[in-house]
Symmetry: C2
Subunit: 888 residues, 2 copies
C-alpha cells in the first residue's frame, strides 16, 4: 500500500504485454475472432446490452419484466431473444456481462437451450465479459466484496458454460469513475484488458486530442509490472451506439430501409456511418475501432438490432467496391483487443485513477460516495458477516449446512452481497423501493447465514445452545441480554490474527461478572446508554445501560464468554457535566489524550502520548446547502451528483457552545457532544485502544426549510499539507490527491468543493513531513481536504431534487416515519508519525471491515471449557473437520 506520488504520468513507451498466456491456455477465444482487413479501417461492432442488477426496478423485476411502467426492461426476454438471433445467423456476435441475470435465466432453461448457449460460447459468438455477478461500482466498494462477487460470477460461468466462458476482458462501462484497485484486481486475476465507459469529460476530450483513449494502466505502486499492468480502453460513446444507429425497441432511430421503398435511406445511413467511423478513427491509434451497439436493457427484441446491423454491414462493405476504405464487422471486445495486440504499439502509461468523474461542468458524480449511508454500512457489515459465515462453513464442513438449526446456506448472502456491489446498489443511486429490496435481500441472506453459523458453532463446540443474533446492537437492543441474568457471548474473529474488541450489550442490571473461556474474570463496566440512543429506540423502550468489556478472540476462531448478573453491585455512574474551567479538559488512555475546548465543548487537540505528538484538531459538523441549480448550471445536487450552492458549509450547531457530558470509568472515557437535535457525537477512548472513536449520529436531517443538506464532519489542523491529502482505493491501496489538480490532464475546475471530493472506502489522511492524521471509516463516504490542514468526510445527505441521471426521485430516504433516516457510524481517528502511521491504520482498517462478530446464547448447553484437542493453529489452514481454536 503505497502512494504512487506520480504527478503527470509521462507517455512512457511500454510494450503491450497482454494476451500471451490466456490465449494459449484457453484453447478458445481469440482464435475464433472474425477475419479483418489489414488494408482498411475495421469497425468492430459490439452488440451488447447493459442490464443493471437493480436500479429503477429490483433485480427480480428487471429479470421478469415486472413494473414495465417504471422502466421497460425484462432480462428474461433479452436472453431468450439474443440466443435465438445468434442461432439464426452465424456471423452475429454478442457479449454479456451481468452473471446475476444470466444465472437466473440459466435456472429456467432446458438442457437443449443450455447446450446451444454452450456452443455459442465455445464458438466465440456469445462472449462473456466482466464476469462479475454484477458490474461492481469502483468508488464505494471494498476490494474484499469485489473479489467475492467476481469469484461468484466466474465460478458460475466456468461450471455452467464451460472453460471458455470466464471472461478475459473486464467491462466496466457504466460505473461512475474507476479505481486503481479495481483495475489491479482484474490485472492480478489475469484479465487481458479493461474497457471503460465513463471518464471525466475533460480527461476524455484531452485524450481524444492526444489519441490516448487507450493506455496502459499501472495498477499498483507496490506490485511489479507487467503483472499489475492492464491495457485499458475508453469507449467512444460511453457504452451507447453512435448517434442515429440505435436500433433497439427502446430507441427511435430509423431502421435501414433498403428495399424498393420511398423510405429507402441506405445512401444516407451509409454515408453517415462512414463519416462517424472516420471521425472516430482520428481519436484512436490503429486501423481498428470499436463501437458498442446497445445500451440499457437493449436486445429484448434482438431482431431489431441484428436485422439492421446485418443490413448496415452489407451496405457499408458494399461501398468498398466504390473505393470505401471502411470494413465493418460483428466483433467482441476480445477480438478488438486481439487486433490492437497485433498492432504491437506502445501505449501511454497511467498511474493514478479515474476519480472523480464528471460528465460536464459543475456535474461531479461525488455525491454517491455518501448517498444512502445506512445501506452502505449494511453492505459493508454484510460482507463482514459473509466472510464469517463462509469461514464457519469451511471450518464446520457439511454440518454447517445441514444442522440442527435448519438449512444453513451462505450462498444467499453471498449473492445478495454480490448484487449489492452493483454500481446502482451500494452507490445509493437506485430508487427507494429498490434500495429497500437490496437491504431485504441482505437480511434474507443474514438469516440463512445465521442458521449456518448456529449449525457450525454447534458442531464445532459440540453443544446445542439456542444461539441468538442481536442485529440491533447499534441502538442497544438485544432481548436476550436485557432479559437474562446469565448468558454466553461467543465472539468469532474472522481475521488471521488475534484481536481484542470492545463488546457492548444492553442490560438492565447494574453489575455483571464476565468470565473468559478459561473461567478467568474479565474486567467489565456498566455504562449509561446515551440519551440519543434512547431517542432512537422510541418511548422508554430498551435498557438504560450497557455492559462493556474487552473481548479477545483467536485467529479464525471464537472465544466464549460467560456473563452473570451480580446480585448486588454499585449502581452505574451517571454521565456528568464536564468541568467548567478556563483551561481545556480532556479524556485519555494509555495511548492518547483528547482535549476539549472548555468554552465551546469542541474537540481541540489530540496527543499521541507515546510518540509525544500534539496536534491541535478542531472538529465539528457542518452542512453544505445543496444546489437546486443556478445561473451557471441547472445541475442540482442529487443521489449521484454533489453540488453545494456555496463552498462554505454552515455549522450544524447554531450556538458556539455545544452541549456536552462526560462518562468515565476504567474501560472507557466518553464525551457526548450534541450539535443539534439531529446531530450528535460520542468521542470515545477505550482502554488499551490506540484510536479515538468518534461515534456520530446524524438524522433525521431536516429539510422542511426547503434546503437539501449534505452533512460533513470536518477536522481542522495546522498541518502544512500543500493541497495534498490521501484516500484509499477500495480499502487496499492509497492514492495521493491534490486539490484542483489531476495527475494526467489539465483540469479546469468548476466546483471548488465537489470537484475535489474523492471516494473514501476505508480511510483518508493528511500529513506534513512528520505527523499524519488518519480517519478510518466504517463504510464508504465522500471526503476531501478543502483547505490545507483540513480534512472532511460527508456522513449523510438528504436532498429535495433529482439530479437528472435517471432515478427521478430526490434522495429523501423517508424512512418508516417519513421524517428521514437517522444514521449512526464511527470514525476512528489515528494520530501518529508519518513513518508509523500505516502500521496503525492498516490493522485498524482490517478490524473494521473484518470485525469479530458476537453470537449470544442463554447458556446451559454443554460448552467446551478447555482448548479443543484438534484446534487449528493460527499458522495453519483449517479445512474439513478441523476445528478452530475456540479457546486460547
Amino acid at each position: 500500500m503505497t502512494a504512487p506520488g506520480s504527478g503527470m504520468a509521462a507517455s512512457v513507451a511500454v510494450p503491450l504485454l497482454l494476451l500471451g498466456v490466456a490465449v494459449v491456455a484457453a484453447g478458445c477465444g481469440y482464435k475464433s475472432c472474425p477475419p479483418t482487413r489489414p488494408d482498411l479501417l475495421n469497425v468492430h461492432l459490439v452488440p451488447h446490452t447493459h442490464d443493471d442488477v437493480g436500479w429503477l426496478k429490483t433485480v427480480e423485476q428487471y429479470f421478469y419484466g415486472v413494473r414495465n411502467e417504471v422502466q421497460h426492461a425484462g432480462v428474461q426476454y433479452i436472453l431468450d431473444s439474443v440466443v435465438a438471433q445468434l442461432v439464426a445467423e452465424p456471423t452475429r456476435r454478442f457479449i454479456y456481462a451481468e452473471v446475476a441475470f444470466l444465472a437466473r435465466w440459466w435456472q429456467l432453461q432446458d438442457e437443449a437451450t443450455r447446450d446451444t448457449v454452450r456452443q455459442l460460447v465455445e464458438q466465440g459468438r456469445l462472449e462473456l465479459v466482466g464476469g462479475g455477478w454484477s458490474m461492481a461500482d469502483e468508488a464505494v466498494t471494498h476490494y474484499s466484496a469485489g473479489l467475492e462477487q467476481l469469484g461468484l460470477g466466474r465460478g458460475f460461468l466456468r461450471r455452467a458454460l464451460g472453460p471458455c466462458a470466464p471472461p478475459r476482458l473486464a467491462w466496466q462501462i457504466d460505473p461512475f469513475g474507476h479505481s486503481r484497485q479495481s483495475a489491479a484486481t482484474f490485472a492480478q486475476m489475469g484479465y487481458d484488458g479493461l474497457f471503460l465507459g465513463r471518464v471525466d469529460h475533460q480527461d476524455k476530450a484531452q485524450r481524444e486530442q492526444r489519441r490516448e483513449l487507450e493506455l496502459l494502466w499501472r495498477t499498483s505502486g507496490s506490485l511489479r509490472s507487467p503483472g499489475s499492468d492492464l491495457f485499458t480502453g475508453i469507449l467512444p460513446n460511453v457504452y451507447n451506439p453512435p448517434t442515429g444507429f440505435c436500433w433497439d425497441q427502446l430507441c427511435s432511430d430509423p431502421p435501414v430501409v433498403d428495399g424498393d421503398s420511398e423510405e429507402n435511406n441506405v445512401a444516407s445511413i451509409v454515408s453517415t456511418f462512414l463519416d462517424i467511423a472516420t471521425k472516430q478513427a482520428e481519436h484512436y491509434r490503429t486501423n481498428h475501432i470499436i463501437m458498442t451497439m446497445g445500451s440499457d436493457f437493449h436486445y429484448e427484441n434482438a431482431n431489431l438490432w441484428f436485422k439492421n446491423m446485418d443490413k448496415l454491414i452489407a451496405h457499408v462493405n458494399a461501398q468498398q467496391a466504390n473505393g470505401s476504405r471502411v470494413h465493418v464487422l460483428y466483433s467482441t471486445p476480445s477480438c478488438y483487443l486481439w487486433e490492437l495486440h497485433q498492432a504491437n504499439l506502445s501505449w501511454s502509461l497511467k498511474m493514478d485513477d479515474f476519480f472523480p468523474y464528471s460528465d460536464g461542468p459543475h456535474q461531479f458524480w461525488t455525491g454517491f460516495f455518501t448517498s444512502r449511508p445506512a445501506l452502505k454500512r449494511y453492505e459493508r457489515l454484510s460482507n463482514n458477516f459473509l466472510q464469517i459465515c463462509s469461514q464457519l462453513e469451511a471450518l464446520a464442513g457439511p454440518a454447517a449446512r445441514d444442522g440442527p438449526y435448519g438449512p444453513g446456506d451462505s450462498s444467499v448472502l453471498r449473492e445478495a452481497v454480490a448484487v449489492a456491489q452493483h454500481h446502482d446498489a451500494v452507490t445509493g443511486t437506485e430508487k427507494q423501493h429498490v434500495a429497500n429490496d437490496y437491504a431485504k435481500q441482505l437480511a434474507i441472506g443474514w438469516e440463512r447465514c445465521q442458521l449456518l453459523v448456529s449449525n457450525a458453532l454447534s458442531s464445532l463446540s459440540g453443544t446445542k445452545e439456542t444461539f441468538t443474533f442481536c442485529n440491533s446492537l447499534n441502538i442497544s437492543v438485544c432481548p436476550l441480554t436485557e432479559a437474562s441474568s446469565r448468558f454466553l457471548v461467543l465472539l468469532y474473529n474472522p481475521l488471521g490474527r488475534r484481536v481484542s474488541w470492545p463488546i457492548r450489550l444492553p442490560v438492565h442490571g447494574v453489575s455483571y461478572t464476565v468470565t473468559d473461556p478459561r473461567g478467568q474474570p474479565v474486567p467489565s463496566e456498566v455504562v449509561p446508554v446515551s440519551i440519543v440512543t434512547h431517542g432512537l429506540r422510541g418511548n422508554g423502550i430498551g435498557a438504560m445501560q450497557e455492559l462493556l468489556f474487552q473481548a479477545s478472540a483467536p485467529a479464525l476462531g471464537f472465544s466464549t464468554f460467560t456473563v452473570t448478573r451480580s446480585p448486588h453491585g454499585h449502581p452505574r455512574v451517571p454521565p456528568v457535566q464536564p468541568p467548567v474551567l478556563p483551561q481545556p479538559w480532556d479524556i485519555h488512555n494509555e495511548h492518547l489524550r483528547v482535549l476539549f475546548d472548555p468554552l465551546t465543548g469542541h474537540l481541540k487537540e489530540i496527543q499521541n502520548l507515546a510518540k509525544n505528538i500534539s496536534l491541535p484538531v478542531f472538529q465539528s459538523y457542518y452542512w453544505y446547502n445543496a444546489s437546486v441549480g443556478n445561473d451557471e448550471s441547472s445541475q442540482a445536487s442529487g443521489a449521484y451528483i454533489f453540488r453545494p450552492n456555496s463552498s462554505e458549509p454552515i455549522p450544524v450547531s447554531v450556538s458556539k457552545r455545544i452541549s456536552t457530558s462526560l462518562v468515565q470509568n476504567a474501560l472507557v472515557q466518553e464525551v457526548h457532544q450534541t450539535f443539534s437535535s439531529w446531530c450528535s457525537q460520542v468521542v470515545r477512548l477505550y482502554a488499551g485502544q490506540p484510536y479515538v472513536e468518534l461515534e456520530w449520529t446524524v438524522g433525521p436531517i431536516p429539510v422542511e426549510d426547503g434546503w437539501g443538506k449534505e452533512i460533513i464532519s470536518r477536522f481542522q489542523t495546522p498541518l502544512q499539507t500543500r493541497a495534498r491529502f490521501y484516500t484509499d482505493s477500495n480499502g487496499r491501496q492509497i492514492l495521493e490527491r491534490r486539490r484542483d489538480y489531476r495527475p494526467t490532464w489539465n483540469l479546469s475546475q468548476t466546483e471548488p468543493v465537489a470537484g475535489n471530493y474523492y471516494p473514501v472506502t476505508s480511510r483518508i489522511f493528511i500529513k506534513d513531513k512528520k505527523v499524519q492524521l488518519t480517519v478510518l471509516t466504517d463504510r464508504s463516504q465522500g471526503g476531501s481536504s478543502i483547505s490545507d490542514g483540513s480534512l472532511e468526510l460527508m456522513v449523510h445527505r438528504r436532498l429535495l431534487y433529482d439530479d437528472n441521471r435517471g432515478v427521478e426521485e430526490p434522495l429523501l430516504e423517508p424512512g418508516a416515519d417519513r421524517r428521514g433516516l437517522v444514521v449512526r457510524g464511527r470514525h476512528l481517528l489515528l494520530l501518529d508519525t508519518v513513518q508509523a502511521a500505516a502500521d496503525g491504520h492498516r490493522l485498524r482498517a482490517q478490524e473494521l471491515f473484518m470485525a469479530p462478530y458476537p453470537v449470544l446464547a442463554p447458556g446451559g448447553g454443554a460448552l467446551p471449557t478447555g482448548p479443543s484437542s484438534n484446534a487449528c493453529r493460527s499458522s495453519q489452514r483449517c479445512a474439513g473437520s478441523c476445528l478452530p481454536a475456540s479457546i486460547s
Copy 2:
C-alpha cells in the same frame, strides 16, 4: 336497394346456417381446430395484432418501423417474430388481417420462410382473417372500392399462401361503426361470420344484458336469406386483451412470474383470469368465449405475449385439478365460430346497421364522415379512374402495359386505392403527413395508370397521340386546351350504358367548333370562369373562360371529339346581375325550374316540370361551432368526433342578402351565390340534365377567431318527414334513419345533432307520402335531418383541438399556404315522386362514381374516323383483342 323499414328487429329464431360449404370445400381450416372441453367453459385466446395501414405514420413507415418517436411500430418485425414464435411451439396460434403489410413482407422473405408460413397456414396455426388489403372503413367507403380491395387481398393470399389462406371470417375490429352493405359484401362473398370491435356503448351494454352480443345480421332487404345472412359477433373488449393481461412490449402489465421468486404472482393472475372469464361468460350464450390477445402493432416481440400466455394456459388449466371449470386454449375466430356452430343455437336477428358509433356520452364518431373532404373526393375519383384503367387494361390486353408511352400498370393505383379504404385513410382520421402520403400514393398510381391508358388508347385507336391528362380541371386549369387552337377530347365511359356528360375545358378563345366522332357538330358554349375559381388559381393565372359541351360516350368505350377554335365568333356573355324584382326569378331547363328569392338571393323553390311537382326549398350554408369541451363532457370536436357546442348552426352569410350573379346560355344556366369570402356556390342546370347541380366551394375556413367550424349545406322544405330520412350504405343500399331513435335498442340521446348524423356515401333523401327530395354527393359526407322537412350535409370542417382518439393533431388541414384547404364539390339535387325517385338517383349516382373520363390530345395522329370493324356491342362482353366501340 330497398329500405328495410324494420323498426326494432324482433329476436327471431334463425338457425345458424353458416359454415356448411366452406368447411367441406377447403379441405383445411375448421378441422385443424384445437380440442375443447364440452364440460368446461372454454376460453379461446386469439393472439393477434392490429396493424393500421397508415394512421400516425405512413404505410412504409409502419412497415419498416421508421419514425418510432411518433409511434413505436414496425410490422416487418411483427411478422418476423410471430413466425418464429409459432414455429417454436406448435400449440400456439395467431391470426393476421392486413394483407397490404403481409404482401410487403412476403416480397422480402426467402423461399424457406415462405414455405414455413405456408405450412403454418395449412396447419391452421396462422390464420388469415378479413382478407382485405386493408381493414376498410365502413362509413365513408364506396362498395365498389371495397370489393376491389377485398379482391386484391384475397387474390394475393390465394396465390402466395395457397388455398387455405383466403379467410372465412371477416374481422372488422376497429372501424368506427359498421354498415349493412359491408356485411352484405362479406355474406355474398361466402364469409362464414363477422367479428366487430366497436359498437355503440349503449347498444353493447344492452346486448350484454340480453346476451345478444352475437347475432344474425340480415344484410340485405332485397336479397334472399340465408344467402345474405351473416353471423356477427361483438368482441368483449373491442380488440384488446382483458385488463391486466396485456403482455406486449407496448404494455406494462406484469408478466406471469411462476418461478421461485418474490415476484411470483401465479395465484393472483390465475384468480383474476378466472374471474374475468366467468364474468365474460355471463354476456355470451355458450360455454365458449373469445378473448383477443393483442392490440395495435402488438407482437413486434411475440415472445413476450406467447411466453406469458403459455404460462397462463398451464396455470389456469392446472386449476382444473382443484375443481376449476375453466379451460383456456390458443384458438382463432374460426375455431371459436366452429364451436358456436356446434352449439346449434338460434340467434337474434338484426336488419339495420351499427351507425352512428359512440364510445361514451357526447362522443359520437360522426365527424369522420366529413373529415378531410378533399382526400375523400380524391379517393372516390381515384377509384373511378382505377375502374377505367382496369377496363382499358382488359380491353387493350398486354399492349396496355407494355406500350409506347412506357410501362403501364394498374396495380399501383389499385393498391393505393385499396390502402385508401383503410379505416384511418379515407376517414380522414390520420395525421396530416399521412394524409399527404395517401394522396401522394394515389397520385403515383394515377401516373402509372395514365401511362396504361395512353398505351391502351393508342392500341385501341391505332394512333400515337401525345395524350394529356388534365388533373386540375376542377379549377379550370389545362395547359393543352388553353394553348391550342385545335385539340382532341377522348371521353372514356366506364359504365355499361351510354352516358351524356358535360365537358368543361379552360380556353382563351371566344368561340370553338366541336365535332363528334362522326364529324358532326356538337353544340358548344364559351362560358365565363367564375371569380371564385380565379381566386383559387392565384393572381391572374389561367383562362378566363371555359368551353362547354355535352359529350356522349358509349358503354365501356370512348368517343373522340375534335375541338377547333373559330377565327371569329361572339365574345362570351359576361355574368349579369339577376333581375331585381319583387317576385322570384328562376333558372330552368326542360326538366326543372329553380326559383330564387329576389330579396335574399337564396334558392327558394324547385319544380319538377314533367311531374308537376313544386317544392319550396330554402338552401343555405351554416357552420356548427365546434365544441372544445364543456361541463357536460370534456369531449372536443375532432377528426373522429363531431360535437357542436350548440345545436343551432350559424349562417355563413352575415347579411340576409347574398350576392348573386347569373349566367345563361343554350347549354347551361347558372346562379353564382356568394355566402362569404370563403363560401360560395353555383346553382346550375345543364340543358337536358334532370338534376340541379350545386357546385359548392368552401374554404379556407377561418379559425382565427378561435372557433373550429363545421360547415353544412342545409335544405329546408315543408315536407312532413316524421323524423325520418334516408341515407345510403356504401352507395349500394338505402337505410331508413329516424331522429333520436335506434331500431334495435333504447337510445338515451346525448347529442341532438351529432347523435343523429349518419354517413352519406352517395345520397341522402327526405320524403313525404308523395314527394322525395334527394341529394347525391360526389364523396362521402355526414348528413342528417335535424328537424322535419330539413336535410343537411356537412361539406367541410376545420378544428382547433384534437379529440383524444390518438391522432394528437387538430384537424387543421393547413394546406400549402397554411390558411386551410379550399374544397370544391357537387351536390346533385333531384326532385321527383317517391315512386320514381329511385330510378333517377340510382342512375345519377352511378354516373357520379363511375364518371366518364376525358383524355386530351393535340391531334394530328391518325385517328380512326369510322366505327371499328370489330367493335364490341354494348350487349356483349369485351375480352382480349376485342376493341370497344370507340365511335358510335
